[in-house]
């Protein structure tokens, strides 16, 4: 998924006509001062760190400024902060509005209903998880008619809006619905949505774009979640790769089998470090690349657990033997292999010829790799 920083989310909002405060992005204290001095950002203004994590207000990542000098010092205080693991590199400066209500609105997917759901609450401006169910209104939206008039009226009622404010909500929800579909969003969330006079203004923007729709949204390709360099390499090679802090490397195929493998390792006292999901492949080169990537993560032992379906056991065995040939002596690691399923006999034979034994039992192979990594933690 691609999580958009607030200012990027607001760029998308602008495209769909969602009302926003006047504001600009700054990347230095000088820029923050200049934007407020020349009137690009009206004063008083709010200065907000552009990070993906929530809770910015409480965490000192949002400040207010009444003058260009104050905007500069607020920017100095926030830029470079380490906020929940993210370094602040960008600020959004926006006019401070006189608001009378803070509301909550979002559109997301309800997996059980298999429908988008419109969620609204009159208790905006706080973390929505802390609001009790009775104060949250949810309406499933059928994709075929889309968001209907009566649903928008019900949302207005739940938010306590009438007259001009209800009309403003109608337009806003229409825009969000189009955005949710048009941008292939997983989540569109405004919290708070401010009532200013009888109009609504989005003070924050949280937009998450679905990865699987990347083929029709090249414009989001440049934006990356925070990944380690090895995770980035893995992504380019289409291998799911996650770094934890243990010492056993795990190579498996399929998310469920990978998770089950980690569960079993932990049961026997192992600490999974890197885990790497080959997915479905019948290219031995991809298997070799996966092993070379694993070698770079320097595990104390590696557990290869493959159940061959699309990925055949002989393919994995060939890729593994080639990788072992390429890994320099100094970087070798103890390896425990378990390959089952399609073409198992051929795969086991290829490994045997290279001096690697495949242990058919999941339990015994897991115990063997924990022992190879130095026993129980």
């Amino acid at each position: 998924m691609v999580k958009l920083a607030e200012w990027r989310g607001k760029d998308v909002f602008r495209k769909y006509g969602v009302p926003l405060p006047r504001g600009r992005v700054a990347r230095s204290p000088q820029e923050a001062e200049a934007l407020t001095r020349d009137g690009s950002v009206p004063l008083p203004c709010v200065v907000k760190a552009q990070v993906l994590a929530g809770g910015r207000g409480k965490g000192g990542a949002v400040k207010f400024a009444n003058s260009p000098a104050e905007a500069r010092s607020a920017a100095e205080a926030i830029l470079g902060l380490e906020f929940k693991g993210e370094r602040v590199k960008e600020l959004l400066l926006e006019e401070k509005l006189a608001l009378s209500k803070e509301l909550y609105v979002s559109l997301t997917l309800d997996r059980t209903l298999r429908l988008p759901v419109l969620i609204v609450s009159a208790r905006g401006g706080v973390e929505i998880e802390s609001v009790e169910d009775a104060a949250i209104d949810r309406q499933p939206v059928d994709p075929f008619p889309g968001l209907t008039g009566y649903q928008k009226r019900r949302a207005a009622g739940a938010l306590g809006l009438s007259g001009g404010a209800a009309k403003s909500l109608d337009r806003l929800l229409e825009a969000l619905w189009k955005l949710f579909n048009g941008e292939d969003a997983e989540l569109v969330e405004i919290n708070p949505l401010a009532l200013v006079g009888d109009g609504l203004v989005a003070l924050d923007a949280k937009v998450i774009i679905e990865d699987d729709a990347a083929f029709r949204h090249p414009e989001y390709a440049e934006i990356r979640d925070d990944r380690t360099p090895l995770e980035e390499v893995a992504r380019e090679k289409d291998i799911a790769f996650v770094q934890l802090d243990g010492n056993i490397g795990v190579i498996a195929n399929g998310a469920g089998l990978t998770m089950a493998t980690l569960d079993v390792l932990q049961e026997f006292g192992g600490r999974p470090g890197v885990f790497l999901d080959l997915g479905g492949t019948d290219d031995p080169k991809k298997v070799t690349e996966a092993f070379l990537l694993m070698a770079r993560a320097q595990p104390q032992a590696v557990f290869l657990n493959i159940f061959g379906g699309v990925t055949r056991c002989d393919t994995v065995a060939r890729g593994l033997v080639e990788a072992m040939r390429q890994v320099p002596e100094a970087e070798r690691f103890p390896l425990v292999a378990r390959i089952r399923g399609n073409n198992e006999a051929e795969g086991v034979e290829i490994l045997r010829a290279a001096g690697i034994t495949s242990i058919p039992s999941l339990k015994e192979s897991a115990q063997a790799v924990v022992a190879a990594a130095g026993g129980r933690r």
Binding site: I208, A213, L262
Partner: protein
């Protein structure tokens, strides 16, 4: 008898001329399934290992009587492929393709449902019954005829578990890999009544994963409507608490979605929950009525 597929199932493979389509059409035939047609627009008149290829699903259905589809078409074109098969009268479509945007899948699901068609998947291994047919990609080697039903959200973990059942000397009635995408055509709750009604299933193995609330929903259904014994396994007990999908996601799945909540819900519904995949066959053997071992 079996669930959804039988000796009367006639499969059209959409995307048969692609590598995966060709390989798995061959495997389905080796399983004993009637693969009667393939569809690849522009390739009409050719054959893939003796299976005739048509330009459209409608033509394939008219000429061969195909009544189920297995879709391998790449994600950007999968929505169109599914809509085409539904409009051609196909009422069971297994979508193997991965990475289909869920916005597409929402349209596909509701379109199919409104016309009485069932989707299994996407991003799934499909369905197989050792005495019926296979539509999908589950390896043939894991099966043996028997009386254990299997439903799962996983791929290879399903193979692992189905194989474990076989190696224990037991067999399967029908196995369905539902896929783990955010929007699936057939959920646990959709599949459970099929196994409840199936006279060939004596016990059901349910394989879940952390995330979402499908297992909790299944537990609720089992508690009220499912009379056969259930053995369950949830993968991901050791996973660090996953990244949540924003705040709105958290309030939809409020208090659900972890291994702990899923195991508790299933146990409360009377299921025996295995801690690890290799515990499943023993639990099954301990419950299965005498005389229904194969």
């Amino acid at each position: 008898m079996s669930v959804l597929v039988s000796r009367d199932t006639k499969v059209v493979v959409q995307g048969i001329t692609g590598h995966q389509g060709t390989v798995h059409a061959r495997q389905m035939k080796a399983f004993g399934t009637a693969v009667v047609a393939g569809v690849t627009p522009g390739k009409a008149g050719t054959t893939v290992e003796e299976t005739p290829v048509f330009d459209s699903v409608r033509e394939a259905v008219e000429k061969t009587g195909a009544n189920a589809s297995c879709i391998f078409v790449p994600a950007p074109f999968a929505k169109d492929a599914l809509l085409e098969s539904v409009d051609a009268g196909i009422r069971l479509a297994v979508i193997v393709t991965e990475h289909i945007p869920f916005h597409d899948m929402l349209v596909m699901y509701h379109y199919a449902r409104g016309r009485g068609a069932r989707i299994i998947g996407p991003n799934c291994p499909g369905i197989a019954s050792p005495t019926g047919a296979k539509v999908g990609i589950i390896p043939n080697v894991v099966f043996r005829p028997g009386r254990v039903g299997v439903i799962s959200r996983s791929g290879t973990l399903t193979y692992e578990i189905v194989n474990g059942i076989k190696e224990h000397g037991l067999g399967q009635s029908t196995c369905i890999g539902l896929g783990g995408d955010p929007v699936v055509g057939t959920s646990f709750v959709d599949a459970l009544p099929l196994f409840e009604k199936d006279p060939d299933t004596d016990l059901l193995v349910l394989v879940g994963e952390i995330g979402g609330t499908a297992e909790e929903d299944a537990a609720e259904y089992i508690h009220h409507h499912f009379s056969k014994p259930v053995v369950a396994y949830i993968a991901g007990r050791s996973a660090p608490e996953g990244k949540r999908m924003g705040h709105a996601g958290a309030i939809i799945s409020r208090g659900k979605g972890t291994a702990k909540t899923k195991v508790a819900a299933l146990e409360a519904a009377g299921a025996k929950v295995a801690r690890f995949p290799y515990e499943i066959p023993d639990l099954v053997a301990g419950i299965l009525p005498a005389g229904s071992r194969s």
